[in-house]
Amino acid sequence: MFKDLMTKDYKPTAKFKPFALAFFILLAAAVAVVAIFGFNYDYDYKGGYEFSVRVGADLKDKAVYDRYEGEIKALVEELRDSSSDDDAPYGFKVVKTYLNAEQENVDTIVFRVDYTGKTWSELAASGETHTAVKDLQEALKNKYDYTGADAFTEVKLKSCFAPAEFWHEFVPAVLLVAAVAVLSAAYFVVRFDFTKAFAVLISLFGGAFLYLALMALARVPFGGLFLAGLGAGLLFGLWNAGYILHHIHDLEKSDKYKNLPNYALIDAAFGKSLKVLCIGFAASLALVLTTLFGGLSTVFLTASLAAALVANAFTGALAVPGLYNALLAAKNKRKGRDKR
């Protein structure tokens, strides 16, 4: 069955019009998904509170750790639900808990609290932050009745200027990745020709949009992994597109194929590349899944890489032949018109 699928003549150029329509609808949908759902900015970019609670027990014991983690989560949820004001619920949510491993006796549990989905500048403007956080602090103190000075550390405020981090750190990095994509296309101009490079560039940007939409849907927290996935996707896309273009380039020079019309030549090159790209994709996806061996906490890393692979397999391998054929047809049409 696999052999049949790999040897079937798919003729991607013949189905280009419906395919192109689907491609652009998908891109529009990707933009809409990002616009509607937005990214999961998470604690690091949206801001939040970080609490440290010294519980006085060895938290290296997983059972003990789970017990305290459960207790704290329950406390936060209880406080959230007990808000007397229905119009302004606390909206607390524990987004992450971990151990403070800087000390030899690990007895401090650190957890981060997301608050009502608002950014820190919005919270600071409304002034509602402090009341809610103090209530939580009070509840924690009551629950863990410590009197020592360091029993319950101060509430910490972090990432309160997250939008600035976004503009000063993330946006330049994304622009850098985009610049690398453009330079890669320039490399293809040197290696092949402008039309092929332009097809690659369109497919790379398509892949980037699809990747962002998948990340928005999967609610992967915004941050470094976003960038890593974007960079990884760029290389996956370049490999897929480059492999097909090399076949096209070879066939354009071969005696057997060079007199064929463009679409037939491109279809043949696609057919010749399909098996390698499919096996490569399946093996790569399996390899990406091995990142789950780091534990469930690495699920977002896996999700980022898998999204990059899937998005760029679609645009890099499937869209490039059709795009190249369409660009070539448009170029030939313009040349014909110029001659007339």
Partner: protein
């Protein structure tokens, strides 16, 4: 020949196995190196390995004038970045991550728990002075209003303009000769000839007359990067901003263990998976490719542990995964091509040679692009982008060498061992069902060295 090949292959496989053990397992008592699993040799970034962060706020007269200080603050951040990272580099600690928070804050995150020396460096003000060729201060740095570089189309050189206020321009109008801009406290040269103490100089001269008339000192240098740095450092010191510490805290180290575990078990799992897949699909060829893959992974892990600029983070792990994938798909492409060529009727050796020849450029292309992308992200990016770029740069270069050179060398050794009797079935190579002996394509004639007569003959004809 066969014996030699067996010895070479065994030696290579033993080396790979030894490197695997050496890289991943701590070997206490024998060598100091603790392997990737031990945090002693692996530099984690602060998010993963723990450390401190500090946030500084610039003291500006009023909120409405903050925007005017943005450039000043960027320049100050640039200067502090150099100072702090030089300190950290000397202490063999991973580089600090600087970021801007809002219009008036700088956040610095370091992978050490002792923040005091960093605070000291952060708070140290730069006070500039302009010295004449005799080393006499002729102008206070406060008269410098800006510094920028511009390309001179006529001289094909870059020029650094140091703009002065009216009072400064007037004071400099009477000075002749070479000038230097210097930090009073550290005596760091931000321009002028190389210092007697070996401090970095930019070898430029004051062009008097025209430039001074425009309230500008003009200096020239063909190295735009050095000049750009000098300009930024001059801006940072011209109007020293007072930075106030507004927050400092520890960054939890809990991720380090997680990342180390992920790298260790993820690599082992990936290697097992790749080995199983390659063996199942390509048998003998797959075994050699798996050895090459393993060598590439081990070397990458080793370089990540020992190179000072490499840090282990989730972005770095993602880059490692990308490099493994590049290596894997490269081998898949090669071996599928070998299978195709063999099905056409070529011999096993000829199919292998042809596959490597035909796929040389597709594989080189993707690896060149990956190395270039890695270098760009490493040099121009910050934080996660730089971390990703560093590993990508190393990994793509290793993957390229492993796929195109090392695998090929291993295959050549294997062919030397088995000779002409190499069993195609052991390489998972099959002829089509309707294949006839007459379809066989003979091997190309091996290139023989020309005899002296053959070399001389055409030349003699030309004469």
């Amino acid at each position: 020949m066969r014996k030699k090949a067996i010895i070479k292959l065994s030696a290579i496989l033993t080396l790979i196995a030894a490197a695997l053990v050496f890289t991943f397992l701590p070997i206490d008592g024998i060598v100091k190196y603790r392997g990737v699993a031990g945090t002693a040799a692996t530099r984690f970034d602060a998010e993963s390995g723990g450390g401190m962060y500090a946030v500084y706020q610039a003291r500006v007269p009023d909120v409405s004038s903050r925007a005017r200080y943005v450039d000043q603050l960027n320049a100050r951040m640039f200067q502090q970045n150099i100072t702090v990272n030089t300190y950290l580099q000397n202490a063999n600690v991973s580089a600090a991550v600087f970021s801007r928070q809002g219009s008036d804050r700088i956040r610095v995150q370091v992978g050490i728990t002792e923040i005091a020396p960093i605070c000291e460096l952060m708070e140290r003000k730069i006070e500039l002075a302009v010295l004449d060729s005799a080393g006499v201060e002729v102008l206070e740095g406060s008269h410098i209003t800006n510094a920028r570089i511009k390309a001179n189309q006529i001289t094909q050189n870059y020029e650094l303009f140091v703009e002065l206020d009216a009072e400064g321009a007037e004071a400099l109008a009477v000075v002749q000769g070479t000038l230097s801009v210097i930090d009073k406290a550290s005596r760091d040269l931000y321009g002028g000839e190389e210092g007697a103490d070996g401090s970095e100089g930019y070898g430029y001269k004051l062009i008097d007359g025209l430039a001074l008339a425009g309230s500008q000192l003009t200096v020239e240098n063909s190295d735009s990067q050095k000049l750009n740095m000098a300009a930024l450092r001059i801006v940072a010191g011209a109007r020293p901003l007072e930075l106030k510490l507004v927050g400092a805290d520890a960054v939890s180290a809990t991720d380090a263990e997680r990342v180390a575990k992920l790298v260790m078990w993820g690599t082992v799992a990936a290697a097992v998976l790749v080995l199983a897949f390659l063996l199942a699909r390509y048998r003998g060829l797959g075994l050699l490719a798996a050895a090459s893959f393993l060598a590439c992974s081990v070397l990458l892990a080793f370089f990540m542990a020992v190179l000072p600029f490499s840090k282990l983070s989730f972005a770095a792990v993602a880059a490692m995964a990308v490099c493994f994938i590049l290596n894997l798909v490269g081998h898949i492409a090669l071996f599928e091509r070998v299978k195709e060529e063999y099905a056409l009727g070529k011999s096993a050796q000829a199919s292998i040679a042809s596959a490597f020849k035909r796929l040389l450029w597709p594989l080189l292309d993707i690896h060149i692009l990956a190395v270039a992308a890695g270098a760009a992200l490493w040099l121009l990016g910050e934080g996660a982008a730089a971390g990703f770029g560093t590993v990508l740069l190393m990994g793509a270069a290793l993957s390229c060498a492993a796929t195109l050179a090392f695998t090929r060398y291993l295959i050549r050794l294997a062919i030397q061992i088995y000779g002409d009797g190499i069993d195609a079935g052991k390489l998972a190579l099959k002829r089509p069902a309707n294949f006839k002996d007459s379809d066989r394509i003979p091997d190309p004639e091996p290139k023989t060295e020309k005899t002296a007569e053959e070399i001389i003959a055409p030349e003699a004809e030309n004469v």
